[in-house]
């Protein structure tokens, strides 16, 4: 169930956004990916999750090549993702946002909707229990009936995580889970990630909050200008002169 990104290259016109990037995240590991703005972190996520295709290189998950699979097919294989800017279904309630994310629902088939109502009812009850668990786990139960568009930025981040969990992935690509989130909530989201990690879920986390990320991740990759600069234990990577240079370069 490990994720292997091998020599992935992505060109936008003449701009080399990803230059032979290789990253490996073992099953159930909690890895981080850092880098200054424009380093190519988000581009890497869009390629790995299938929203864009790479020009070169390959991505395998659980030993199977993902490159030819659609976005939904990759998720069904167990590789989920969240978005940097939360993309909640704003007119649906928080509860509906989570419910809709449950995989393999019999009621998504029109024939079943009209002729196999019993089956749908049973499944809906089971999904409702899962949703309840996630609402409690993320402490979103108080806003469960509110339209997701009306949540605060931090709550939307939590919902984004909860929705990705409902799809039952084995590994999640988390795109800046702490961006625009207050310190108390950062702490809270960190704890949720750790708990999920303890239950065996794998993570690759892109984050600018280096302090929070280095406390969380077992292993860090650092990127700049489309290349991997360094990889290793968090202290090691953060102390690396090349990484400091990449972050401070503009200022120093």
């Amino acid at each position: 169930m490990s994720l292997k990104i091998e020599r992935v290259t992505k060109l936008f016109g003449g701009f080399l956004a990803l230059d032979e990037v290789s990253i490996e995240v073992p099953a159930g590991a909690l890895y981080g990916l850092i880098g200054p703005n424009g380093a190519g972190k988000s581009t890497l996520f869009t390629v790995v999750s299938g929203f864009q295709s790479a020009n070169k290189g390959e991505v395998t998950f659980d030993g199977a090549a993902l490159d030819r699979l659609s976005v939904p097919a990759r998720v069904r294989r167990g590789l989920g993702r969240t978005f940097q800017v939360p993309r909640e279904f704003r007119h649906l309630s928080v509860r509906e946002n989570l419910t809709v994310a449950a995989p393999m629902q019999a009621g998504e088939n029109i024939f079943n909707v009209f002729f196999r109502r019993g089956r749908i009812r049973d499944q809906e009850a089971a999904i409702a229990r899962e949703v309840e668990d996630i609402l409690t786990f993320l402490k979103l139960d108080e806003v469960a009936e509110r339209p997701a568009g009306k949540l605060s930025g931090g709550q939307k981040k939590l919902l984004e995580l909860g929705r990705a969990l409902m799809a039952k992935p084995r590994m999640i690509l988390l795109d800046e889970p702490f961006a625009g989130v207050n310190p108390v909530l950062v702490e809270k989201i960190s704890r949720h990630i750790q708990e999920l990690h303890a239950r065996g879920m794998g993570f690759l986390v892109v984050e600018h909050n280096l302090q929070a990320l280095s406390a969380l991740a077992e292993f860090l990759y650092a990127m700049d200008r489309g290349r991997i600069l360094a990889a290793g234990e968090p202290e090691e990577v953060l102390g690396d002169p090349k990484v400091r240079e990449a972050y401070m370069g503009g200022i120093a």
């Binding site: 998720v75 978005f83 993309r87 279904f89 649906l92 809709v100 909707v113 009209f114 929705r163 799809a167």
Partner: protein, 295 residues
């Protein structure tokens, strides 16, 4: 007067079927279909052509729904690749293409001359009630079934997914669901309702020509849906009623303002509908029943 009211009610109910279909596509799924009249035309011509061959009208009506749905299939596939505004243009072009095909393929459709002597419902049924009354009763039944069906569909897990697609399609993909599957189905269901409306229209009017299928009708249906409240089944019903009230009510403006000629009146009526829409959007932007943003 009774006959006039019945005629208005029948046209209103035909519009209602169209609005229910469009509302499923746009109000619930966010698909901008500016070519609704095209599917209406396909249904009308299918059922009319089968009817004048002497086939039972049940077959004609069923065929109207099926052919309209099948015509929608490729358009649905296009909707997978096109973003909203492009889909709007493509569907508008599509409905005009349908009309041009009807005009030019005279061997099948009799071109601009149109199809005459389409059997009415009572001729075919052999029942002793008038064509209008029978059409009215069957339309009530058809709308009732359509409303029940759409209610059940939109309140099901399927309905949840299409509303999610309306809000953010890429997020749906990131949950492992393929929006395309849902969009194609919604397109086909909406089109089959338009096809059914077309069949009712053809057998009621008994005479169809290509000019009855202009994009103006598509926009009337959009007005009805927006006035009622997009994304609400009740909105489609109330909106259609309001549209017909304005369209027909403005007929009687001549009694109040007799100096306006009959020709000018046609434009005045459109103006009245436009004004009503503008005022409604200003003071009640979600439509009369409130749209999906206000639930």
């Amino acid at each position: 007067m009774e006959n006039y009211l019945l005629a208005v009610a029948i046209i209103g109910l035909i519009y209602m079927l169209l609005t229910l279909g469009l509302n499923l596509q746009y109000g619930f799924t966010g698909l901008i279909n500016f070519g609704h009249v095209g599917f209406f035309a396909v249904g009308a011509y299918t059922s009319a052509l089968l009817g004048i061959q002497g086939l039972p009208l049940v077959i004609g009506f069923a065929a109207a729904m099926v052919t309209a749905a099948l015509t929608a299939y490729p358009i649905g596939l296009l909707s997978l690749r096109l973003r909203v505004e492009y889909l709007a243009i493509v569907t508008l072009g599509f409905s005009e293409a349908i009309r041009l095909v009807i005009i030019n393929e005279g061997w099948l459709t009799k071109g601009v001359q149109g199809i005459t002597n389409i059997p009415t419902l009572n001729q075919a049924s052999g029942l002793g009630i008038s064509a209008s009354l029978l059409t009215f009763i069957l339309l009530i039944l058809a709308n009732g079934l359509a409303i029940l069906g759409i209610r059940r569909l939109t309140k099901s897990p399927f309905g949840r997914v299409i509303e999610a697609i309306r809000d953010d399609e890429d997020a749906v993909r990131a949950l492992g669901k393929d929006p395309g599957r849902f969009k194609v189905r919604v397109f086909m269901i909406g089109a089959s309702l338009a096809g059914l409306a077309g069949a009712f229209y053809a057998h009621y009017i008994a005479y169809i020509v290509p000019d009855q299928f202009l994009p103006l009708l598509t926009f009337y249906i959009w007005v009805a849906m927006i006035m009622g409240g997009a994304g609400k089944v009740s909105g489609a019903v109330v909106g259609t009623g309001t549209l017909v009230l304005f369209l027909e009510g403005s007929r009687f403006l001549r009694d109040v303002v007799p100096w306006v000629s009959a020709v000018e009146m046609a434009s005045v009526r459109l103006g009245v509908v436009g004004l009503a829409l503008v005022l409604l959007m200003l003071y009640r932007p979600g439509g009369i029943m409130g749209d999906y943003t206000s639930r």
